[in-house]
Symmetry: C2
Subunit: 293 residues, 2 copies
């Protein structure tokens, strides 16, 4: 049973939505039956500067092997050890679940990002999707045996990533969508904690499984091509044969590879991934939700 | 007559559109009858870091009194003196006209920003508007006797500011819109330089005159309110009586002041102005274009 929940904002310092929601919760603490809700600003130093990070991406600094290495002295490695000491003192989880709040410049709507597909997490996502239009993205497969995310400090977790929104901006609509997903999360776990019975929203869950980061192609001068207007903003939509994906300065287009047809790109032209990853390819999957007993 | 034109991108280092267009022009120089076109990256140090600036806003560092002060040693003050030495060596303009390329996170479309309303500049704007859907914004009134903009190094100038686009992102559509406005500028001055006669596109020009920067209201805890969804993205649209403009964390709204009704906000929720300026109020004006002879 999930009783102790941490809601984290500002893991990336220029994603203001999570910071604002955490500060709202701190200003007017939320009483939720059966739950202990705590809040945390992930990277206050980066929030202060309104930058994604100071030295390196904090949300790539939580691999166990890195956390255990006290010689790493950059800003985020030190902050990662502080956050770990707070959320997992002496290696024991102080919280059962972490909700990490993010935004994206891509046209992804409300995305529910899972590092694993434990029944407890899939049940939560089904409950959120029943209340808030949203999609589930499984990211675990992009990494090796060690995941680098802050949320992996707890036994179970969810990242809520909402867009499109520029870095450094708060939008009323994005704020409300994110707040609704957080409220649905707390309502779900509160119901579970109080009644003890999981909801029967559905038996399978439609999800998207990340399979590959696609790099920007480079032109002859080594400059990245630009995401084509026929791809821009079409996150989650299956790629079509001959769909133009990139355009060079001279107007030449690069089209969809035959083996990508039917796969669904996400994080298309995300600012934080420029000029490395142009999009993440995913495959639609239908997951049995199962029982968490 | 305008013969020597500088096209500047990257005055703000995270506005990638201008940087890309300048690099395109450098890779494939454009031959334009009657014109000498040169290019410049405004703030290469900031472009390198994909930040608006390193120490301070370069596009606020060109007041004559500041340029003349060699004791200012921050990154942008030094860069401003370098740019001035290149575009106005020994105080004499090396170019007749500067086009400075910018982007905004606000929903402003193609905006033609003028520091003055010289007939030569108004004629250019009319010529651009005849080819590219765009609006003219007069910003001179927001400043005292000294304007701080890079473009004021030349006798005449235009900033082309296109949005909405996040900082740190290149979009095909925004790139094409900006390119079209640059092409229209060069075509106009080329025609003038070759034929000597200005076009008679129209005798008056519809424009928006900036009259006031409006600050974010603060809540009791000193946190800025959020731009209300009924204002977000409605740049250029006249404010209405009782229109909600801001919302607090507890849901209370702040409505349009009676004296603002009919005025048109721009730069609504612009990332670079957060958390200071929520929007810039403008008044619609009809300017006689006049003759530049």
């Amino acid at each position: 049973v999930i009783r102790r929940i941490a809601i984290v904002g500002g893991t990336h310092g220029n994603e203001l939505t999570g910071v604002a929601l955490v500060r709202d919760l701190e200003a007017r603490p939320r009483i939720t039956d059966g739950l202990e809700v705590r809040t945390l600003i992930g990277n206050p130093g980066a929030v202060e500067q309104c930058r994604r990070f100071v030295d390196r991406d904090l949300n790539r600094a939580f691999r166990p092997s890195e956390l255990a290495n006290p010689t790493l002295s950059d800003h985020e490695s030190r902050r990662a050890r502080e956050v770990a000491a707070e959320l997992r003192p002496d290696g024991e989880p102080a919280v059962d679940f972490i909700v990490d709040l993010h935004t994206t410049t891509s046209n992804m709507g409300v995305s529910l990002l899972l590092a694993s597909s434990h029944p407890l997490e899939l049940q939560l996502c089904a409950a959120i999707m029943a209340r808030v239009p949203s999609r589930v993205l499984l990211l675990g497969g992009l990494w090796g045996s060690e995941l680098p995310y802050l949320k992996t400090l707890a036994p179970h977790s969810l990242a809520i990533e909402v867009g499109p929104i520029p870095q450094g901006v708060l939008r009323h609509d994005i704020l409300e969508q994110t707040r609704a997903a957080v409220e649905a999360t707390l309502a779900h776990f509160s119901r579970l904690a109080v009644t003890g019975t999981p909801p029967a929203d559905s038996t399978t869950l439609a999800a998207f499984e990340a399979i590959e980061n696609v790099a920007y192609p480079l032109d002859a001068a080594g400059r990245p091509l630009v995401v084509h207007r026929d791809l821009q903003d079409r996150d989650w939509q299956p790629l079509e044969a001959d769909q133009p994906l990139f355009v060079a300065a001279d107007g030449t287009e690069q089209k969809c590879l035959p083996e990508w047809v039917g796969l669904c790109p996400v994080f298309i032209n995300e600012a934080a991934y420029y000029p490395d990853t142009a999009f993440v390819l995913t495959r639609q999957v239908e997951l049995p939700i199962g029982s968490s007993d």
